[in-house]
């Protein structure tokens, strides 16, 4: 019998840890019993559809939202008092609820720097050059992509141990996305940082990710190394008879299925060799097996009935 889909990581040094983190609004649960474990130096992709609880989780990690129960710890400190957490954190919000639109971009960056004693002015200037920012332009006049670059600069220039990026490339044009990704890659190469990215544009961040967490309806449905996910979750194309009776799900964790009655395309969790053997034993001919990208993997994990 294949092992269950993991939701915990092996013990190691963690940059972010939550224990039973729960947020309820009356009877509605936004996040339930979240045990997030993000290793130090990891690039952690937090995946999930809109409304899965990603932003709520971020708010609790930053100390902006009081959990109904459970606790959160970031870079060795608890999320309350919030200042202690936020000074160790760089944050790019999902929405452009930008600060002080009347301010010139250069002034805004200088103002922001005043809050962070660790601010690296030389690095900020380098980033500003790389982003081609125009300090004399008012922040409110910037395009969405330009504003995003300013936010990214403000999140990176104090070289925080933890970065929280909430949909960092959402709404950006391809050129702006590319710039954001390039700067992020350069930053990670130069400074040891733990990154948590909440996104539904998985393919953009896939190349960075080494850990993946999948949130569905406020619950963590999977949490593991990306390598584990891609090794264990495979798509099998099967040739079967029309009256074929598939094995029970208890024997073979089927996450997603489509295809035709004679050609089934199944996404199954488990070691490829064992899954293939079981399918063959059940009378199916395994025509091909392929790995899934993270987008497809997240979709498959969220397609499980109990995760919806």
């Amino acid at each position: 019998m294949p092992e269950p889909i993991p939701t915990t990581l092996p013990a190691q040094e963690l940059a972010v840890r939550t224990r039973g983190l729960t947020k309820r609004y009356g009877r509605v649960a936004a996040v339930t019993g979240l045990d997030l474990t993000v290793p130090e130096g990891a690039f952690y992709l937090l995946l999930g559809p809109n409304g899965a609880g990603k932003t709520t989780t971020f708010r609790m990690l930053m100390g902006n939202l009081r959990p109904t129960s459970g606790s959160a710890e970031v870079a060795g400190v608890t999320a309350s008092p919030a200042g202690q957490v936020r000074v160790r954190m760089g944050f790019v919000p999902e929405h452009q609820d930008g600060p002080y639109g009347w301010m010139r971009t250069g002034d805004l960056i200088r103002h922001h720097a005043g809050y962070f004693p660790a601010w690296n002015d030389a690095y900020a200037r380098r980033l500003a050059d790389a982003f081609e920012l125009r300090p004399e332009v008012r922040y409110g006049k910037l395009s969405k992509g330009q504003a995003r670059r300013v936010q990214l600069l403000m999140a990176l220039a104090h070289t925080p141990p933890v970065l929280l990026l909430d949909e960092p490339t959402d709404g950006l044009d391809p050129v702006a996305r590319d710039t954001v990704q390039a700067i992020l890659a350069e930053h990670l190469a130069g400074y040891p940082t733990t990154v948590i990215v909440a996104t539904h544009l998985v393919y953009e961040m896939e190349r960075f990710a080494d850990y993946v967490g999948v949130l569905g309806a406020g619950r963590l449905v999977a949490q593991m190394e990306r390598a584990t996910l891609q090794a264990q979750l495979r798509r099998y194309v099967l040739d079967v008879a029309e009256d074929w009776h598939p094995p029970l799900e208890a024997e073979l964790p089927l996450l997603r299925q489509n295809g035709t009655p004679r050609e089934r395309r199944w996404t199954i969790w488990g070691p490829e060799e064992e899954v293939t053997r079981r399918l063959s034993a059940a009378g199916a001919r395994v025509r091909s097996v392929s790995a899934l990208n993270l987008d497809e993997a997240a979709l498959a994990l969220l397609s499980r009935k109990e995760n919806r």
């Binding site: 708010r59 930053m62 100390g63 902006n64 939202l65 009081r66 870079a75 309350s80 008092p81 919030a82 200042g83 202690q84 936020r86 000074v87 160790r88 944050f91 919000p93 929405h95 609820d97 930008g98 600060p99 002080y100 639109g101 009347w102 301010m103 002034d107 103002h111 922001h112 005043g114 809050y115 962070f116 004693p117 660790a118 104090h158 925080p160 141990p161």
Partner: protein, 259 residues
């Protein structure tokens, strides 16, 4: 040693003082000065002739503008930043309540020199009219009274603007609601109790009106060599300043963490 340390309150206060300057809100309060002065002089010269004896006129006419400056400034310090648009604050390494307090304190820092300039201008105009003696006779009580009046009003409106989206609407509708309540009470035929409590809130010996205008009344009595009004004013003004400060603290802590 980690350099990721939380900035102290003094550092945040400095940032907020500078921010108010950059936002040109501080410039606004400085621009209010010539306007207020002009209005004071105009009122003195034309609008209320005979309402007061000539000597103390300019000094007395300053009170409404002092109140206006304090009250308006309390709302202006949060110009374009109602509570729903303070998401940026929640990404900074400062407790939201401390951030709010720093902003209100920064506003007070700008209000004080603006008031001092206004006072200086008032004294200058009075002296130009040949009434310098009135300034001397009024003594420091007048200026202390004005200062406390402005700070009390500033604290109250700043608390409101810290806590609610549309402070001006609250002021207008609050006034309408009170007027309606007063009318209803009067129609119900039990106005005495209402009047008693309203009077206690406004008049001597402990009311807000006395706290705001008491210093002026005392100074005016000195200028006109009349008997000073009964009742202690200074402790009452300090008490209302304390209430005003408490309101600011309460507003600053209001939903500092979303629940």
């Amino acid at each position: 040693m980690s350099t990721h340390v939380v900035p102290g309150f003094a550092a945040v206060l400095r940032l907020q003082i500078h921010l108010l300057w950059k936002s040109r809100a501080a410039l606004f309060i400085l621009l209010m000065l010539p306007g207020a002065l002009l209005a004071t002089a105009a009122a003195a010269a034309y609008w209320m002739p005979g309402a007061f004896t000539g000597r103390e006129f300019e000094l007395i006419a300053m009170l409404p503008f002092v109140i206006l400056m304090g009250g308006a400034w309390g709302i202006l310090v949060w110009r374009d930043e109602p509570p729903s648009k303070r998401g940026y604050h929640r990404s900074l390494p400062v407790d939201v309540a401390a951030h709010h307090l720093a902003r209100v304190a920064a506003g007070a820092v700008w209000l004080l020199p603006a008031l001092l300039l206004y006072f200086a201008a008032g004294i200058f105009v009075t002296a130009l009219r040949g009434d310098a003696g009135a300034v001397t006779a009024a003594g420091p009580t007048l200026w202390l009274g004005y200062l406390l009046a402005a700070l009390i009003l500033y604290g109250m409106t700043a608390a409101l603007a810290t806590a609610v989206e549309k402070p001006l609407s609250w002021i207008v509708w609050g006034y309408v609601a009170l007027a309606a309540l007063a009318t209803l009470v009067a129609m119900a035929g039990t106005p005495d109790t209402f009047r008693l409590w309203a009077g206690r809130l406004i008049n001597r010996p402990y009311g807000l009106g006395w706290a705001v205008g008491g210093g002026l009344e005392i100074a005016r009595a000195r200028v006109t060599a009349q008997a000073p009004p009964a009742g202690a004013w200074f402790p009452v003004a300090l008490g209302w300043l304390f209430v005003s400060t408490l309101l600011v603290f309460a507003a600053a802590h209001w939903r500092r963490v979303r629940t």
